[in-house]
């Protein structure tokens, strides 16, 4: 049987960082991913990565406070301290690994401004920072010699007496099902953007790890905290990075006004994302938009700055909407981008299922609380990826594999999958159900929410889960059957969607990304709390837990 001390599921930045850390500590480590590691969604990060470098006069405490304020005080301050203290070294490690970070005149790492922060501490590579980091991380993975299962898809967790024993996985190329035994499993499966339509997220970002662990008993936390990014393209939902505003781009309404001066007189376009997205949505709702959009204007930055620092974004504009940002502003609107919520973990990545860890966007430590600052997510992936890998590598020294009947597990999983393949060709197509789900989520659990809308989506989802039971697949073959993968992903997404809707309905206040028109104020007395979701007999079960506050008491949040 395939067998590893540490099995990392997901090969984005968090997963690869975890695998490299675990293997450097001598653990027999493997990494498994449904796409080749460099195809992972971490690629898409454009703008940069935050760190407060003390030799530059910055202080981790300042970064921590900006993060906490950005989170609307829902972030756990112990975890935020860990992240902001570790940031400098993690960044330098990436530079030593080979990332081609932009430099200042003295040849030292250069910075750009990013939203919600009082000073520049965002390090970057042009406007493709994520790709630059991901490819270098992959280089280090190759160097480490870690076994990599590429294009393998985890279909379920193996749990024996409440403890993880391994995972069941489908090798996409052959269509074979395997049981992989592991002493510890680290989930680094990324976000769940495709639960919404449209979304800035890649098509593979389907919340698998959240659903897999939720179905196995893990608690998900603050799932209602969905970030709508202020600058996405209408239609495809593709992102134009905050780097544009970091470099000085304006947001204009149909009258050509820089409307952010009304909503955030100090930080203007660089206020926190939730604030900017709400402002845009208000402009649009009050009739000052253009076809459901406002404008992002780069022209005054000049061709040189655009070509050196924002050229990929310019290309996207030309490729996808046929507009050259050197010459004209481009219509944008708030679009679903990121989930602050995720699998609840402690500061070492451990979840409430013994021996199961989570790191990166699928996890919630919680460093982002109600709203993530731009460029804090890449940091989150490498800091907590590394910590999980380290912790797991130490843990495996003292534990044994959990036994299970390999053949029985394989037989059971094969039968489950065969029953999907055998479904008669009636019922909705996968794409139809997915679109219905995404549209309902985007209609009702977006920038502004209210009870009526959320309830509608809760009901829609119940109905969709029933319909899902009849959804067939066209492709019955074994080799590279993507049709089957999409079907399984849809199942995961429906589970995740349900937890998001449940959290949004439960939190009766407005905090961070949760903006309830029926509860417009933040309510620290009742809701300075995390909302936990676990799977119950008939749907999500909710409970709450305390927020960790170390040294920063909540205050009113203005920008």
């Amino acid at each position: 049987m395939l067998e590893h001390d540490v099995l990392v599921v997901g090969a984005g930045l968090a997963g690869m960082r975890a695998a490299i850390a675990a293997s450097s500590r001598g653990a027999n480590t493997a990494i498994l991913s449904k796409v080749h590691p460099v195809r992972s969604h971490s690629n898409a990060a454009q703008g940069g990565i935050n760190a407060a470098l003390s030799d530059r006069g910055d202080a981790w405490e300042d970064h921590a406070y900006d993060t906490i304020k950005g989170s609307d005080f829902l972030g756990d301050q112990d975890a935020i301290e860990v992240m902001c203290k570790a940031a400098g070294q993690s960044l330098i490690d990436m530079e030593h690994f080979g990332v081609t970070f932009s430099r200042d005149e003295e040849g030292r790492l250069g910075t750009r401004a990013f939203g919600g922060q009082r000073r520049q501490r965002t390090f970057f590579v042009g406007d493709f920072t994520g790709q630059a980091l991901l490819h270098v991380m992959f280089e280090q993975l190759l160097k480490s010699g870690v076994r990599s299962y590429e294009e393998w898809f985890v279909t379920s967790l193996i749990i024996e007496d409440g403890i993880v024993a391994g995972v069941m996985a489908l090798e996409i190329r052959s269509g074979e099902i395997f049981a992989i035994r592991a002493k510890t499993v680290i989930f680094a499966t990324g976000g769940c953007g495709r639960v919404f339509e449209p979304s800035t997220n890649a098509l593979i970002v389907t919340g698998d790890g959240m659903a897999l662990t939720y179905n196995a008993g893990a608690s998900l936390m603050d799932m209602e905290m969905i970030q709508y990014h202020p600058t996405t393209l209408a239609g495809s939902g593709v992102l134009l990075s905050e780097a544009a505003r970091g470099e000085g781009a304006y947001l204009l309404n149909k009258d050509g006004d820089r409307f952010m001066k009304v909503y955030a007189p100090n930080m203007l376009e660089l206020a926190s994302r939730d604030v900017v997205s709400r402002s845009e949505q208000t402009e649009i709702n009050e009739g000052r938009g253009i076809d459901g959009c406002v404008l992002l204007d780069l022209r005054h930055l000049g061709e040189n700055v655009i070509m050196e620092k924002l050229w990929q974004i310019r290309e996207l504009g030309m490729d996808l909407v046929g507009k050259d940002m050197i010459k004209e502003p481009i219509p944008i609107r708030p679009g679903m981008h990121y989930i602050m919520g995720g699998i609840k973990t402690d500061i070492d990545g451990l979840t409430n299922i013994p021996r199961v860890y989570a790191a990166g966007e699928c996890a919630n430590v919680s460093v982002h609380g109600g709203n993530r600052l731009g460029a804090n997510s890449l940091l989150d992936t490498i800091v907590f990826g590394e910590r999980s890998g380290n912790h797991a590598a130490e843990a495996v020294k003292h534990i044994k594999y959990v036994d299970f009947d390999e053949q029985a597990k394989i037989k059971e999983e094969k039968a489950r999958i065969q029953s999907i393949l055998d479904r008669p060709q009636n019922g909705d197509r996968v794409s139809k159900l997915r679109l219905d789900m995404g549209t309902s989520m985007n209609d009702n659990i977006a920038v502004y929410r209210d009870e009526e809308g959320i309830k509608k989506t809760v009901n829609d989802l119940k109905d969709m889960k029933v319909r899902y039971q009849d959804v067939p697949v066209d492709s019955k073959g074994k080799i590279f059957n993507t049709d089957l993968i999409f079907h399984l992903e849809l199942g995961f997404m429906l589970d995740v969607a349900e937890t998001i809707a449940a959290g949004a309905l439960e939190r009766k206040e407005s905090r961070g990304a949760q903006s309830r028109t029926d509860y417009p104020d933040r309510d620290d007395e009742n809701w300075l709390k995390h909302i936990l979701v676990t799977q119950g007999e008939d749907g999500p079960q909710l409970s709450t837990s305390e927020v960790s506050i170390t040294q920063w008491e909540p205050v009113e949040r203005t920008y």
Binding site: N43, G107, A132, L142, V321, N481, T482
Partner: protein, 318 residues
């Protein structure tokens, strides 16, 4: 907009797997990409159609294929531009075995990336803080690290077609990303060992400069230019005692003689007129270049101002 898309398919599960063509017609938005059209076909008409795709924004490198015979990314090609005689024709990327439909096997691709020791190898002690490097050098490298490993260049490489052992444009560009990195190699940033390895057979000297990779690359990486830059680095480092470098010296000699390069003479000079097997091995490349209209004119004419060019070459030689 209504588009007809003709897809070269391959069902590996079939009893006797064979490639075949299938046509689909679908309605897409005016600004749709070829990928949008393919996804629409997959979702609405035929879920058995397999292709890799994820980001939809030319960054994950999943969706490389041949569109109307030319390697590139489906998500970066507007459907309108790809319609020829009413149809968009798509096939799997070339120079790789097909797994299913438009999905190809990248094992060979990654093997070659592995062969160039694809990670930074600084020789000196590691600084405590970051390495000091100029922004220009990092910007220059970023032009190469912008490579998303999509395989479009490999798909269209004319050398790989005749010599599968050739490292190929993606791996060589990747190698250049290290040799040109001031942090890699000795304290002057010279990566001598890498350059030696890359100068072996199937390495940097085997590129025929057909430009196919430059045309195919969707990210402006210009692999061929990077390969030429590798050659320059090797010559600068004094690595002249091999076929490739002799080829380059022959190049200098030929240009010096007639003012422009006589590509037909070049193989002879390099391998020596008596190396018949080696000479013969150039023939397929020659034939393919001819087909693509890239073989130089059979009659080599002296160009105007030949004296000036000769003087230039003399100066360069010094």
């Amino acid at each position: 907009m209504n588009v007809t898309i003709k897809v070269k398919r391959f069902d590996a599960d079939a009893e006797k797997p064979e490639s075949y063509w299938e046509e689909f017609t679908t309605e897409v938005a005016d600004n749709a990409t070829v990928l949008d059209a393919l996804i629409q076909v997959r979702e609405d008409q035929d879920g058995t159609l397999s292709l890799r795709c994820s980001c939809r924004s030319a960054i994950c490198g999943s969706c490389a294929m041949r569109i109307n015979g030319q390697g590139g990314l489906a998500c970066k090609t507007p459907a309108v531009d790809a319609v020829i005689d009413g149809t968009i024709t798509v096939e799997p990327a070339g120079n790789m075995p097909v797994i299913k439909d438009l999905v190809t096997n990248f094992d060979g691709f990654w093997d070659k990336i592995n062969q160039v020791t694809p990670y930074l190898q600084p020789q000196g002690p590691e600084p405590e803080a970051e390495y000091i490097a100029s922004n220009e050098s990092m910007l220059h490298l970023s032009g190469v690290t912008a490579c998303i490993m999509c395989g479009s260049c490999v798909s269209d490489c004319t050398v790989l077609e005749v010599d599968p052992t050739f490292l190929g444009p993606a791996a060589l560009a990747k190698a250049y990303r290290f040799t040109a990195d001031p942090r890699d190699g000795d304290e002057d940033g010279v990566s001598l060992d890498r350059l030696k390895d890359l100068g072996q057979k199937s390495g940097m000297w085997d590129c025929t400069r057909c430009m196919a990779c430059v045309t195919a690359c969707p990210k402006g990486v210009d692999p061929m230019d990077r390969i030429m830059a590798l050659r320059e680095q090797a010559m600068d480092a004094g690595l002249t005692n091999n076929n490739g470098a002799r080829h380059a010296e022959a190049f200098v000699e030929l240009v010096g003689h007639s003012g422009s390069l006589d590509e037909l003479k070049l193989p002879v000079k390099t391998v020596g007129i008596f190396n018949v097997p080696a000479l013969l091995s150039y023939v397929p490349v020659g034939i393919r270049s001819l087909r693509r209209g890239k073989l130089p004119s059979l009659f080599h004419k002296k160009i105007e101002g030949v004296e000036n060019v000769r003087r230039l070459v003399k100066k360069l030689e010094k």
